[in-house]
């Protein structure tokens, strides 16, 4: 047991998937040739002015409501002044002391089922910087960087948490479920690889039992939750090592290298940051109409974490089922439609199990495939009625994936209906006669041997035998039950 307790807070930048940028009408794009989505405003030409994208405000409110934030009755924008080539105005229009979303909290569910509640300090709106690439050149021969302003001005919501987290794995759990929640809200693509969701962690440690905060370091911009988790653990270990050797932590930005597992310090700037925040005179206050806020609250979808609780409590799903099925809003929707028509637990099993396994070959997601939720429900019903056996049902599924036919039609066309007991009884009689040793074992009370008969029966019938029926008929034939 370590003598230190880690204290971690995270800052998450989420790019909103609006059609246009935060303060100008340029279309958002990803992967287009550089500088093909710009205008005088996002290039900060002399004389231009920002105008707020209404949809960005709406999405910020939607996020704030989902995080239980207090919605500011009136919020304003500030200028955050600093020079960098990816920031064409040399200030970022952001929010400072009156963010649109104030205090809230978010609860995630850990793998062991326990709950992890993280305080939200704020969620505010700002604009993204442009893309700076450290290659290319200024003047032949000299190294330099190049700037592409396509991304510059993309609306961002920055979510800042309280330092409530205590481990890298909790951070990963929190971020995964936060990301899921944002996906459910439909506000962002939340792609870590494409940078539409980026997380930084502030990490410090303190002696167990202490309530003071230690000096924190900032772990920057990891492009996967797994690396972030490992980076945090590595940083905690590094800080513990320093403190236990009597050293001091210096406030700096650090970087985790996933390949080596090493933490490196980004050279701390000789000049302390002084952003000279002041209220943006070019923008007027945002005062969300309370009726609008209430309607947004009413329109909130059921979010993944509460949904998972309900799936377990009311629908008889395992915690794992619930976790898997809430992976994406599309999957939830798919499952819910099936579960409304047939046994939810069976639907859950078939969707997360066999259906996804079979679809792996085509690379489709269930909702993209020819198999509708109603098809799944019908298949579950056929199984429950004993019309098809489990192995046959898997074949039916394969047929549906190919043709999109109703399961009953696939059963019909492929002749997969379970054999009726009369036909099966004749086959069983032959099997018992042909395998006297196994029959004797059953008489001796070795029930396990039933599996042998089921297997043989399946072989003989091409999978059309209902395993329950086989067991019943073998018992009748051998034991006279």
């Amino acid at each position: 047991m370590s003598a230190y307790e880690p204290v971690i807070g995270v800052e998450i930048h989420v790019q909103l998937s609006t059609r246009t940028k935060m303060f100008c009408g340029c279309e958002l794009s990803f992967g287009d040739p550089p500088n093909t989505h710009t205008c005088p405003v996002c290039l900060a030409h002399p004389g231009v002015l920002p105008v707020v994208n209404e949809e960005a405000i709406r999405r910020a409110l939607v996020i704030g409501l989902a995080l239980g934030c207090e919605i500011a009755p009136r919020s304003i924008f500030h200028r955050k002044n600093y020079f960098y080539p990816d920031l064409p105005k040399a200030y970022q229009v952001s929010q400072f002391d009156i963010p649109i979303c104030g205090r809230g909290e978010f609860t995630a569910i850990r793998e062991d089922g326990s709950e992890l509640t993280v305080g939200i300090t704020r969620a505010h709106l700002e604009e993204d910087a442009a893309k700076l690439t450290h290659e290319g050149g200024r003047r032949a021969g000299a190294e330099g960087s190049v700037v592409d302003f396509n991304r510059g001005g993309t609306p961002l919501v920055e979510i800042v948490t309280e330092p409530d987290l205590r481990s890298g794995s909790d951070v990963a759990t929190f971020l995964r479920q936060l990301r899921q929640t944002l996906l459910f809200l439909g506000v962002s693509d939340c792609s870590m690889e494409e940078g539409s969701m980026r997380a930084d962690a502030n990490v410090s440690i303190r002696p167990v039992g202490s309530h003071e905060l230690g000096t924190k370091t900032e772990l920057k911009n990891m492009n996967s939750f797994r690396f972030l988790e490992r980076g945090i653990e590595a940083e905690i270990a590094r800080q513990e090592r320093i403190l236990s050797e009597g050293g001091r932590i210096s406030q700096e930005t650090v970087h985790y290298e996933p390949e080596t597992g090493h933490i490196t310090s980004l050279r701390s700037k000789e000049e302390s940051h002084d952003y000279r925040y002041f209220p943006e005179p070019d923008l007027v206050p945002v005062v969300p109409d309370p009726a609008w806020v209430e309607s947004l609250r009413a329109e909130q979808p059921e979010l993944p974490v509460p949904l998972r609780r309900r799936m377990v409590a009311e629908m008889g799903l395992s915690a794992e089922d619930a976790e898997v099925l809430t992976e994406s809003p599309e999957l939830v929707e798919y499952f819910m439609q099936a579960a409304a028509l047939a046994d939810p637990k069976a639907c859950a099993n078939w969707i997360r199990g066999e259906l996804r396994a079979q679809l792996r070959e085509t690379g489709e997601e269930p909702w993209q495939s020819k198999v509708t939720p109603a098809h799944v429900a019908a298949l579950v019903d056929l199984l429950a009625a004993g019309t098809v056996s489990v192995p046959a049902a898997k074949e039916v599924l394969a047929g549906m994936i190919q043709t999109g036919d109703q399961p009953a039609a696939v059963v019909e066309s492929k002749g997969l209906a379970a054999m009726d007991d009369g036909d099966l009884a004749a086959i069983i009689a032959e099997l018992v006669a042909a395998n006297p040793d196994q029959a004797q074992q059953l008489r001796d009370g070795k029930d396990k041997v039933l599996g042998f008969f089921v297997g043989q029966a399946m072989k003989q019938t091409g999978g059309r035998a209902n395993p329950q029926s086989v067991q019943k008929l073998v018992r009748e034939a051998v034991l006279g039950e």
Partner: protein
């Protein structure tokens, strides 16, 4: 009186390279101006709200509808250095 290190710090924040002469003149001139400005530091402003916008307007928002922007040629036409369709900048160190 504003001191030399403050002048240098502020010049760095503002990304202005000043010659030693300029630094000296700036120090004197800023100090002189600040003496006049200091009048407002003596005023009783307790309970007075700051004014950011002199005309009270709220919620000026733009629908999320794309507008035509600049061609790449127009975007880059005034740039000092263009590298494969991007703006070139010197190395950072």
């Amino acid at each position: 009186m504003i001191d030399e290190s403050t002048v240098n710090h502020v010049a760095r924040l503002a990304r202005l390279r000043l010659t030693p002469d300029e630094q000296q003149v700036m120090r004197e001139e800023l100090s002189g101006i600040l003496e006049h400005i200091d009048a407002i530091r003596a005023m009783d402003l307790d309970g007075v709200e700051p004014t950011t916008h002199v005309i009270a307007v709220e919620n000026v928002l733009r629908p999320d509808v794309p507008r035509p922007g600049l061609s790449r040629d127009d975007a880059l036409r005034e740039a000092a250095d263009v590298v494969d369709g991007s703006f070139g900048v010197p190395r950072m160190d």
